[in-house]
């Protein structure tokens, strides 16, 4: 497994003034696998995400991303939009951040900005309507259509994203992130606010992204049914440190994890577990 690691996080620490949100966290995410980052509220999961995706600059630590061709990128040295543009890390947000006043199709077109910008000759070729630009635009619309079909929103392509139901917006945001053609897809609570049927559809979508497209996925999730169903590897955090990791089965039975979720100390949790079984 060590040879096929897409993301390795080493001793990542993030301080906000006196508060240590993430403390010496180390974990790896395997290529073409789904890695879940779980933990109680306030454990520092989203902070880790923001460090990986360049929204925060970590206080210390290293984050290494290895592309399929073997190229290695130190994520902590890139910032802002370069994480997505050069390192090919795409993300979604805990509270959906679509472009509500633009149509679903337009949302997916904006995601292909960098590729289209080159194709339009930094706007100049596009301005005179060069054939190469037209072809590139048609291809971009095709890619967007493929994704709309995949998430079942093809018939709503021309509707404003802000008008779509909540579950559709969640899926559209994932499709938009995928339209940047990422190596690593980071999802921040993709199942939040979804009903059981929508959660199941989401699991299916994520599994197809992993197996059919070979994209590695890192997700934060509270919905345990989703985590247990689709994750290949689970990392559990509490108070900014890793308290457990392993397969979903392994993590579920770990007393430390149960203790963290129940808010009790470890001994009590073991006692609870033993009395329960």
């Amino acid at each position: 497994m060590s040879g096929d690691v897409i993301l390795s996080v080493d001793h990542l620490t993030m301080r906000f003034g006196g508060i240590v949100a993430v403390n010496e966290l180390s974990f790896t995410a395997a290529r073409r696998k789904i890695t879940a980052l779980i933990g109680p509220n306030g454990a520092g999961k989203t902070t880790v995400f923001n460090c990986i995706t360049g929204f925060y600059k970590p206080t210390s630590g290293a984050m290494r991303l290895t592309h399929d061709d073997g190229k290695t990128i130190q994520l902590e040295r890139l910032n802002d939009f370069r994480i997505s543009k050069q390192a090919k890390v795409a993300r979604t947000f805990q509270n959906i951040r679509l472009f509500p006043g633009m149509t679903a199709l337009e949302n997916l077109m904006v995601a292909q900005h960098n590729a289209l910008m080159l194709a339009s000759g930094l706007t100049f070729l596009g301005l005179i309507g060069a054939p190469s630009w037209r072809a590139a635009e048609a291809r971009a619309v095709d890619l967007a259509q493929v994704w709309l079909k995949r998430i079942g929103l093809l018939d709503r392509a021309d509707d404003a994203a802000g008008n779509l139901p909540y579950g559709d917006q969640r899926r559209l945001e994932i499709a938009r992130a995928m339209c940047t053609e990422p190596a690593l897809l980071c999802l921040d609570e993709p199942a939040a606010g979804l009903n059981a049927r929508e959660s199941a559809a989401l699991s299916e979508l994520l599994l197809s992204i992993r197996s059919e497209l070979g994209t590695s996925v890192l997700l934060i999730e509270h919905d345990m049914s989703v985590v247990m169903e689709i994750s290949d590897h689970v990392v559990v955090m509490d108070y900014g440190v890793k308290i457990a990791e392993g397969t979903p089965q392994h993590v579920r039975d770990d007393p430390k994890v149960i203790a963290a979720y129940l808010g009790a100390d470890e001994q009590e949790a073991i006692a609870v577990m033993e009395s329960g079984t």
Binding site: F81, R82, I83, F93, P100, G101, N114, L116, S120
Partner: protein
């Protein structure tokens, strides 16, 4: 409370220097009654006509007719504009007014790129207008360059200043951005006033050459256009030429903007207005995106400025006050941010309407203010508030203004 004291108590210096005051309860009561009554009337109007527009009880046939009228209005307006010099050939006043309206249409369309598409509130747009005007005036009077050489130069210089303004304000958003752009507009004006050796200070630049029709002057001389065509010279020729010149420039602005909207850069502008954080997560360089918006808007402002200079033949800092910025911004907001047709209609209403009420003297502003208040109650997102998508698969349907964000700077 403060207001009640300001109106209710009148103070003055007495004959021996002491403070004397008297009360004006009558005036105060009248004011209070007026404000009270006014609020009630506004609230009633809001309930009668309010912004419920979309679901008002209007028969579908009427709504269809309105839809057709809405689609037809742009071509009809364009054809009419082309015919204005033909219809009103003898009426110099209307031609001049037409040129003025078209100048503001162009400025509105230029600012629309910055405010309407990219959502960056720019209160100093007149600075670029001034840069364009002075660029042409100084290049033409000092180096004898022709209008057609100076026009692109004026645009490039204005765009350069747009980028220069853009750099420091990139981190600012909303109100802060507005304040800095406002200051930038004032800085440019003050530099023009004080840099006497270059700009002539408050005296302005005089003797700016009139435009030529690609080298052929529109003058009464033997080499003038009239002589070449063998027709009698008339000063109206130049006015008509200027009219078509600004029309062409405005249409160029419009064409480029419509084109840009459908290109990745234009979509990135609109995406930036909708959600900047999401843009960054998608790998869009928000810095260059904002700078290109500033530069593009400034370039059109520069073109308009060069035109202004050649039309007037004389420019001074007085033409580039904050009031101009505010007027152009009002046109964009009134028209509906991002809507090309809306901006054109708003420019027509603002500039034309202003002329229409000339007979009312000092009450002109009052009528105007009232009209704007009513319009903002009736259509809070401008004349044309909805947004047309830039690309579609099957249905090209407008997006309701409720969903479109205004941008946070």
């Amino acid at each position: 409370m403060l207001f009640s004291l300001m109106i209710g108590v009148r103070t003055d210096a007495g004959p021996t220097g002491q403070l004397i005051y008297w009360t004006r309860f009558g005036d105060l009561a009248a004011m209070v009654a007026a404000v009270f009554g006014g609020s009630i009337i506004i609230e009633l109007l809001r309930q009668w006509w309010g912004p419920v527009g979309t679901i008002r009880i209007v028969p579908p046939s009427v709504q269809n007719a309105l839809g057709v009228a809405r689609r037809g209005i742009a071509p009809v307006l364009l054809i009419f504009t082309f015919l204005v010099p033909v219809i009103f050939y003898d009426e110099r006043y209307i031609l001049d007014l037409g040129i003025l309206v078209l100048t503001y249409v162009m400025l509105g369309w230029g600012l629309n790129v910055v405010v309407g598409l990219a959502g960056l509130l720019d209160l100093g747009y007149v600075a670029f207008y001034a840069v364009g005007a002075y660029s042409y005036a100084l290049l033409a009077t000092n180096f004898g360059l022709s209008f057609w050489v100076c026009l692109p130069l004026a645009g490039i210089l204005a765009a350069f200043w747009g980028v220069l303004l853009g750099f420091p304000v990139l981190r600012l958003r909303g109100d802060y951005l507005a304040i800095v752009t406002l200051a930038f507009g004032e800085i440019i004006r003050l530099v023009i006033i004080n840099w006497q050796s270059l700009t002539g200070g408050p005296n302005g630049v005089t003797g700016i050459p009139r435009p030529t029709m690609f080298g052929i002057p529109l003058s009464p001389g033997d080499d003038g256009l009239a002589a070449l065509l063998g027709i009698e010279f008339s000063p109206t020729h130049r006015i008509v030429f200027l009219f078509y010149l600004i029309l062409a420039l405005a249409l160029l602005t419009n064409w480029v903007t419509i084109r840009l909207r459908r290109l990745p850069i234009g979509r990135a502008w609109e995406a930036l207005r909708e959600d900047e954080v999401a843009c960054r997560a998608l790998g869009i360089n928000t810095t260059t995106t904002k700078l290109t918006a500033f530069a593009t808007g400034a370039m059109f402002g520069g073109f308009a400025g060069a035109f202004f200079a050649t039309r007037q033949g004389f420019i001074s800092p007085e033409s580039f006050t904050f009031q101009e910025s505010a007027l152009v911004l009002a046109i964009v907001v009134l028209g509906g941010m991002g809507s090309q047709l809306g901006v054109a209609l708003a420019a027509l209403a603002m500039i034309g309407g202003f002329e229409l009420f000339r007979g009312l003297d000092q009450y002109r502003m009052l009528v105007f203010g009232l009209a704007m208040v009513l319009l903002m109650i009736w259509r809070p997102r401008g004349l044309i508030g909805h947004r047309a998508p830039t690309v579609f698969l099957e249905r090209n349907q407008a997006i309701s203004s409720d969903l479109v964000k205004e941008g946070h700077g």
